[in-house]
């Protein structure tokens, strides 16, 4: 390996801003083309309207790009922000960063919420957010040094290709003997050669003495990062205490933080054991309820699901503290020590794997027909090392595998690879090909929307069936839950602003298992409240897991158990104690509503954000093929006869598939109507003028945008 060398391109010395009530009150701007480093003020209006985190990112990005800007234009910006509550060491889940940019796969705004120390360290170094525009001529590291009060753009040579080694070397180099002072964002070769690149954010594991990783996975943020020729962002900060964030009322903060933290310590071992097994408990539970995506979401169950479930990973995970933020008692970021890959550049070497979590297991396991925990672990490892999103990898390859099994593509297209479901060797080969962009892996790495185009135009594959089975919406691959039997979750995915990711709403159990929302209006209410409250975590720099993955023992006795109002009230107290802005639970929803609607308008600005863009593939709503129908014949026949009053006597499967499809597609459209109405949007899914005025986001350019799109009231 060549020697590590840095060449100083630009340096800005600054006097670190004092943190006040969770804010640094300024953001950092870097333009890699010019190059330029400057500091922008955060206005009171920004704080009041956008709160922080994703809200600040969106505002910076909105002002950076035009409606015609493409993801690979230099003017596209990557923004990373924390939020006013981020960086609180004793409140569980308070170390999140949010990344936003224009996505290579959707063409519109993408946001991704990620753990690790970067966001809090950035804020404590004096910046609520960083906004990076332009493209560097050569590989570049941007250093934000909050201790020595300087920001540097550094040309770099001698760093390895993959994210793991890059982050390790930079942590050693800049840590000056204190590696915990460093957090690195890096990507890898797969991000450069595909459109589904992710970003790895580090946190330093003092117990194991190594940099650990969390991923901002969705929508190709890593691809934009690589396009800008950014090798890494490095932030350097010192020790963090409760006072570092300068809360308005430290005693009130201590009180509420201790309550939440202690509750998790007491109840997590009695509930889902996230501190021991992360989110892996979901695998067998989803399987039991026919919700575990299997072979490209055709089915929700497989007899071998337990092979990739919690009972296996419980034994594989290395024991020890796994909190991706200081003092988090959920501590769910587990990893596997001394794993030995069977393929690729690390073949035969012992490595540490960060993960897997549920999404990776379902996406890279059951959805590919793979039920071997070691293959899932190896895919997890190389996705991170290459900088590839495990969800888009899994869902994208599952689509390609089904196309292969259907005969829509064949070995002449795949370079001789047998892409049948369950072929572990081929799955690994596709992933390694993504690291170079060569071979069929380079095509799978373009994402499902582009694959459909290539398969249709170049291979003559039937576009209609691919539209039905290609599990993407808005250009983003679905995350890993079956939605066929939950209309509310079809909306949770299809109406999500950035595309089908479950971070806006996860309503499957409430809807399908418990049937708590039988009417369209009830579903619409849930598709208002839950996305709004979940958005709030991204504004503040928080993780949602402490809210509803560990539940108070008396929660069942409350009026609306799904909302966990005791915790919502604690969050309102948390916000009040840090920012000094006295808030009640309803205020948190209003805060989110403003940012949520602004993001919808941002989609509109980019040429999306209308009813037609909330479409979902039929595979998400019901059985596409005869085989799928017949596998759950009793269920579907019963629904047709009893729920819809259809006389199914003498009808063949194909006819019943078509009838069910018509009914379910009608229901999805009715759901859209109800949700748009509840959210104060037009029938075309655009926020009304009255809505933007109520939410105080009626900026002149917003009103102009609405007028240009025919919305005047």
């Amino acid at each position: 390996m060549t020697e590590l060398r840095f060449k100083e391109i630009k340096t800005l010395k600054f006097e670190r801003a004092a943190i006040e009530r969770g804010y640094a009150n300024q953001t950092l701007y870097v333009n890699l083309s010019k190059p330029e480093i400057s500091i922008k003020p955060v206005t009171q209006k920004m704080k009041e309207t956008f709160i922080g985190g994703k809200g600040f990112d969106l505002w910076l990005l909105w002002n950076a790009v035009k409606g015609t800007t493409q993801w690979d234009d230099p003017e596209n910006a990557i923004c990373v922000s924390c939020g006013p509550l981020g960086g609180t060491p004793i409140y569980p889940g308070s170390g999140k960063s949010i990344v936003t940019t224009l996505s290579p796969t959707t063409g519109s705004v993408m946001d991704s919420n990620v753990g690790g120390y970067f966001g809090p360290y950035l804020k404590f170094s004096g910046f609520d957010a960083i906004e990076i525009q332009g493209e560097a001529e050569r590989e570049t590291v941007v250093l934000i040094d909050g201790i020595d009060e300087k920001v540097q753009v550094l040309e770099v040579s001698g760093l390895p290709e993959d994210a793991y080694e890059t982050s390790r070397i930079l942590t050693d180099h800049f840590g000056q003997g204190k590696p915990r002072n460093i957090s690195v964002i890096s990507s890898g070769p797969g991000a450069r050669h595909t459109l589904i690149g992710c970003l790895n954010f580090t946190w330093y594991d003092a117990g194991r003495k190594r940099a650990r990783y969390k991923q901002a996975g969705r929508g190709g943020t890593g691809t934009v990062f690589s396009r800008k020729n950014i090798k890494a962002l490095v932030v350097r900060w010192d020790a963090v205490t409760l006072s570092t964030n300068r809360p308005s009322d430290e005693e009130a903060l201590k009180e509420v933080a201790k309550m939440h933290s202690h509750e998790i310590v007491e109840l997590d071992p009695k509930q889902n054991e996230m501190a021991r097994i992360g989110t892996t408990h979901l695998v067998t539970i989803m399987n039991d309820y026919d919700l575990l995506p299997t072979t490209n979401y055709r089915y929700g169950q497989h007899p071998q699901a337990a092979n990739i479930g919690a009972e296996v990973y419980r034994r594989l995970f290395d024991k020890g503290f796994d909190g991706c933020w200081i003092g988090c008692t959920v501590a769910c970021s587990h990893g596997i020590k001394d794993f030995v890959p069977m393929t690729g550049p690390y073949k035969g070497m012992k490595v540490f794997v960060d993960g897997p979590e549920y999404e990776t297991i379902a996406g890279c396991g059951s959805n590919l027909g793979i039920f071997d925990p070691y293959t899932v672990t190896e895919i997890n490892f190389y996705c991170d090392a290459y900088g590839i999103d495990t969800i888009s990898f899994g869902t994208g390859l599952a689509f390609a595998m089904e196309c292969f099994e259907m005969g829509l593509i064949n070995e002449t297209h795949t370079g001789g690879l047998d892409l049948s479901f369950g072929n572990r060797i081929s799955a690994m080969e596709i992933l390694h090909q993504m690291a170079t962009g060569k071979g069929f892996g380079g095509i799978v790495g373009q994402g499902i929307r582009k694959m459909k185009e290539i398969f249709s135009k170049e291979y003559g594959a039937d576009l209609k069936i691919m539209q039905d089975i290609g599990m993407e919406a808005k250009g983003l691959e679905f995350s890993e839950y079956m939605t066929k039997e939950s209309l509310a979750q079809q909306g949770g995915y299809g109406l999500a602003l950035k595309g089908p990711q479950h971070d806006e709403a996860w309503l499957i159990f409430l809807d399908m298992v418990h049937n708590y929302m039988p009417t369209f209006e009830q579903k619409a209410e849930a598709l208002h409240w839950f996305p709004m409250f979940r958005t709030w975590f991204g504004l503040c720099g928080l993780c949602k897991l402490p809210w509803n993955d560990i539940v108070p023992e008396d929660n069942a006795e409350t009026l609306e158990p799904a909302k966990i109002m005791k915790h919502v009230e604690w969050y309102a107290r948390f916000f009040s104690a840090v920012t000094g802005r006295k808030s009640k639970p309803d205020d948190l929803i209003t805060m989110s509503e403003a940012v949520y609607n602004f993001q919808r308008l941002f989609n509109l600005k980019m040429g999306f954000g209308r009813r037609e863009h909330d479409a979902i593939p039929y595979r998400a709503a019901g059985p596409v093929t005869k085989e799928e129908y017949e596998s759950r014949k009793e269920r579907y026949d019963k629904q047709l006869a009893e729920k819809h009053g259809v006389d199914i006597t003498g009808k063949g499967t194909e006819e019943k598939v078509q009838i069910l499809r018509r009914l379910r597609e009608e229901m999805y459209e009715k759901l859209k109507d109800a949700v748009y109405k509840r959210r104060g949007w037009t029938a075309d899914g655009i926020p009304k003028v009255a809505t933007v005025k109520r939410l105080k986001i009626d900026f002149p350019e917003v009103l102009e945008l609405l007028k240009a799109n025919g919305v005047t009231e």
């Binding site: 509930q271 054991e273 839950y481 996860w506 159990f509 298992v513 509803n548 929660n555």
Partner: protein, 65 residues
């Protein structure tokens, strides 16, 4: 003897998760119950036998990813 939510509860041979929930009279619609380290989902309540000396946890909510 088994423990349910940390409290001792008499065990009998062949007792299923569904039997146990009926006997303790908790009407909350649990989707998952943990028996020791294993998560048991409602579709399997009727067929899953609770072993003696088990620790049983009633999981109040499955909240997704």
């Amino acid at each position: 003897m088994i423990k349910v939510r940390g409290k001792d509860y008499p065990w009998r041979k062949g007792m299923t998760v569904a039997d146990l929930l009926k006997e303790i009279g908790d009407s909350y619609p649990y989707a998952v119950v943990r028996v020791n380290e294993k998560a048991i989902s409602k579709p399997n309540f009727d067929t899953t036998v609770v072993p003696d000396n088990s620790e049983v946890y009633l999981i109040p909510m499955i909240a997704g990813g």
